[in-house]
Amino acid sequence: MTFWSLFKRNRSAVLGLVILLAIVFMAATAQLFFPEDPFRLIGKPMSSPGENGFLLGSDSLGRDVASGIAHGAKTSLLIGLMATVVAVGFGTIMGGLAGYYGGRIDDLLMRVTEMFQTIPSFIFAILLVAIMKPSIESIVIAIAVVSWPAVARLVRGEFLSLKTREFVQACHTVGMSDIRIILGEILPNCLSPIIVIGSLMVATAILIESGLAFLGLGDPNIMSWGFQIGAGRTLLRSAWWVCTFPGIAILVTVLAINLVGEGLNDALNPRLRERT
């Protein structure tokens, strides 16, 4: 069966994918529909949705909430993706080396991993951003730093089980180099779980970014959903729309990514494949 036919058996995953694509489209076309800087004060402050030409209202300074959501989508997705790529890349290297070589290297790398896992991830992220000064790079680094241990453990497990298989041992006997075995033989065979954990990690990264921005630790020069909620929360009673709509945006995006992740899991996991 092709991948797509496996994936589409999960209806909710398809729904998630459609929503996700819509959000990606929104992020990509934000500049088109809202050519102005989202921080721009373009109208009467605190206009309610529909009033004064604001689709979703304006905030305390007269910034367009809808424009903020469209531009914020770009930030959220970008940070989510970048942080995930960094975390997955680093986690895979650490986990792969630990799993493949075992012994002391394994001990050493896993102790390091555990050290990171013992620190509550969100608090750790706050600390890192606060030390490095809030900026888009520091946020990506902070999210990656708190996310990679999970990947490392997963990859290590996969490597541990794969390295004892016959096909890997066959490679050893024909004299293949370690690096070729790791990259050419074992890694491709554990890509599915990595893709699945990576897709779910994007959702977590978006949540962490929003949380940081809500606490005022976002990059003050970049529009994001968390920033909108943070800036709007003092107005919650007088202008509910300022933080409600970005909140819905976060909810929908994270939900969609989770659904897609589930679908990927169903489609890529050979053990689950025969269940249905």
Partner: protein, 523 residues
């Protein structure tokens, strides 16, 4: 609505402290908001706002000031100014003890004024600039010998402005890092008990207070609640009783004003005279050019800031001096050369003349709450309109203070300064060459230096004749209007929000910076 309440309530509960469960019996505990958490309680060293909320309950000054800004006795029972104005004799109260049991004497006064306030206090060197020496003929008499008459000095002797510090705990120590900074020992109505970092500062009643029958409260707890809406919720459900200096955002204060159990006032800031402003680094491009500084000032819509961020509380600045100095004739409306509204074209023209088109700068924001962030976001836009690309930077208080006043590592900084009851006390420190004092907070961080202005400031400080003095300050305003090392934004109106059962918290002109010795709950 209910859900919101519940959420903010839950958030508050998380940060709640045991000490804050207010018992409203006789005496009782006053829980006041302190925002943000102060870097220390060394009020002899820093005038940082949150220090001013807590420290004057612990430390006292020689005098206090009543609601009409008239001096009333405090640690000094009385004072006498000699006919030539050059000798001021203070008779100190008898039987006053520091919180650690040591007696308070004239030696403490001499030490505090000569060694501490005149040297490291941000405003002290100005307030006591004419003090040559202090004689202490006996334990209860302190005689200030002045080089020139200094009438403004007598307005700067409150426990907030010039706190008397214990000589026996500071002498021989490095004043900036002495343990006293975090464990204050004063003579005031409340004693320092504990400081739970990130949560609260607790002060208990000083049983041996020298004023008979005071203080009325048993305890004052200063709570740090970083989130503005949580602060409002805490005020609304009676968990805290007092919030001043914008602790409750104006938008919420306007709403709370309607509740019977809560009072809102703009009183208690008469001696403070706060002014929102921008400090420029005048030593480096692009802001070494007065034209660029003027262009920035011209690009900003001050009324927009007041209306949309401070909900109408404030007046646009018209010159380097607050219009409140109009009462003493020092604010010259003629010399007031500030633009009445934003003028983008004119600002662009100035930038072009200065050859500073398409420049990028970093805009630092005073980390005292959301309002300042919003102001920064507005300014970034307004500056973008004239071709200045501004990056916003918002840090924690110690980092920010160090950046602006110790490292001088900034381009322009949004801040607010207290102009105080006299320009000598509040305004000179911002512009004088002698006020370029690296490491001291809230002084001339722009490092503006102009001999003409320095000469005028000296003359202004010593001139006893009101009319001549007004003429001097008119010139000062003209020079500062042209050079704008600092661009004033607007005269701020702070709001104090309080539980209406709390009485007599406002007996002093200093409002929230007062000692609260007479405050009590009427319930």
């Amino acid at each position: 609505m209910k859900i919101t309440k519940w959420i903010s309530g839950a958030l508050t509960a998380v940060t709640m402290v045991a000490a804050a469960t207010a018992a409203r019996a006789e005496g009782g505990t006053l829980v006041m908001l302190v925002q943000p958490e102060p870097p220390s309680l060394a009020s002899y060293l820093s005038t940082s706002g949150p220090i001013g909320l807590m420290a004057p309950k612990i430390y006292e000054g020689l005098l206090d000031y009543d609601k009409d800004l008239q001096a009333v006795p405090s640690l000094a029972k009385s004072y006498k100014v000699s006919a030539d104005g050059k000798t001021v004799t203070f008779n100190l109260q008898k039987g006053v003890k520091w919180h650690d049991g040591e007696p308070f004497t004239s030696a403490d006064v001499q030490f505090t004024v000569m060694e501490v306030l005149s040297k490291i206090h941000p405003r002290g060197p100005n307030s006591f600039r004419e003090v040559e020496s202090i004689d202490t003929p006996d334990e209860h008499t302190a005689i200030f010998n002045l080089k020139n008459p200094a009438p403004y000095m007598l307005r700067a002797l409150s426990g907030y402005e010039s706190p008397m510090a214990p000589k026996h705990l500071l002498e021989g120590e490095d004043y900036r890092s002495a343990p006293l900074g975090n464990k204050p020992v004063g003579t005031g109505p409340f004693k320092f008990v504990e400081w739970k970092k990130g949560q609260y500062i607790r002060l208990d009643k000083n049983e041996d207070y020298w004023k008979e029958g005071l203080p009325k409260l048993d305890r004052i707890v200063g709570r740090f609640i970083p989130d503005a809406s949580t602060r409002t919720a805490a005020m609304e459900n009676g968990e805290v009783h007092y919030g001043a200096y914008g602790a409750i955002p104006n938008i919420d204060a306007v709403r709370l004003r309607e509740m019977d159990s809560i009072g809102v006032t703009t009183d208690g800031y008469g001696m403070i005279n706060p002014m929102a402003l921008i400090e420029f680094d005048t030593t480096e491009p692009p802001f070494d050019d007065p034209k660029v500084r003027k262009a920035v000032s011209m690009a900003l819509d001050r009324q927009f800031l007041i209306d949309n961020i401070w909900f109408g509380y404030g007046q646009p600045a018209t010159s380097a001096l607050s219009s409140n100095f109009g009462a003493t004739g020092l604010h010259d409306a003629e010399a007031a050369n500030y633009p009445s509204g934003p003028n983008v074209d004119e600002a662009k023209k100035l930038l072009k003349e200065a050859g500073a088109e398409d420049i990028s700068i970093t805009l630092d924001l005073i980390p005292y709450g959301e309002d300042w962030r919003r102001a920064g976001e507005y300014m970034k836009q307004a500056l973008g309109d004239i071709g200045i690309k501004a990056d916003l930077r918002y840090e924690d208080v110690p980092t920010w203070l160090k950046r602006i006043y110790a490292d001088y590592d900034f381009d322009m900084n949004v801040n607010y300064f207290y102009q105080l009851p006299d320009p000598v006390l509040g305004v000179h420190r911002h512009y004088g060459t002698d006020q370029i004092r690296q490491g001291t907070h809230f002084v001339n961080s722009s490092r503006y230096s102009n001999p003409d202005l320095d000469a005028l400031l000296v003359k202004g400080a010593q001139e006893p004749d009101a009319e001549k003095r007004a003429a001097i300050y008119s010139d000062v305003q003209k020079i500062l209007g042209d050079d704008k090392p600092v661009a004033n934004l607007f005269e701020m109106n702070f709001l104090t929000v309080y539980d209406s059962s709390l009485k007599d918290h406002d007996t002093s002109a200093l409002g929230a910076y007062g000692s609260f010795s007479e405050a009590y709950f009427d319930k």
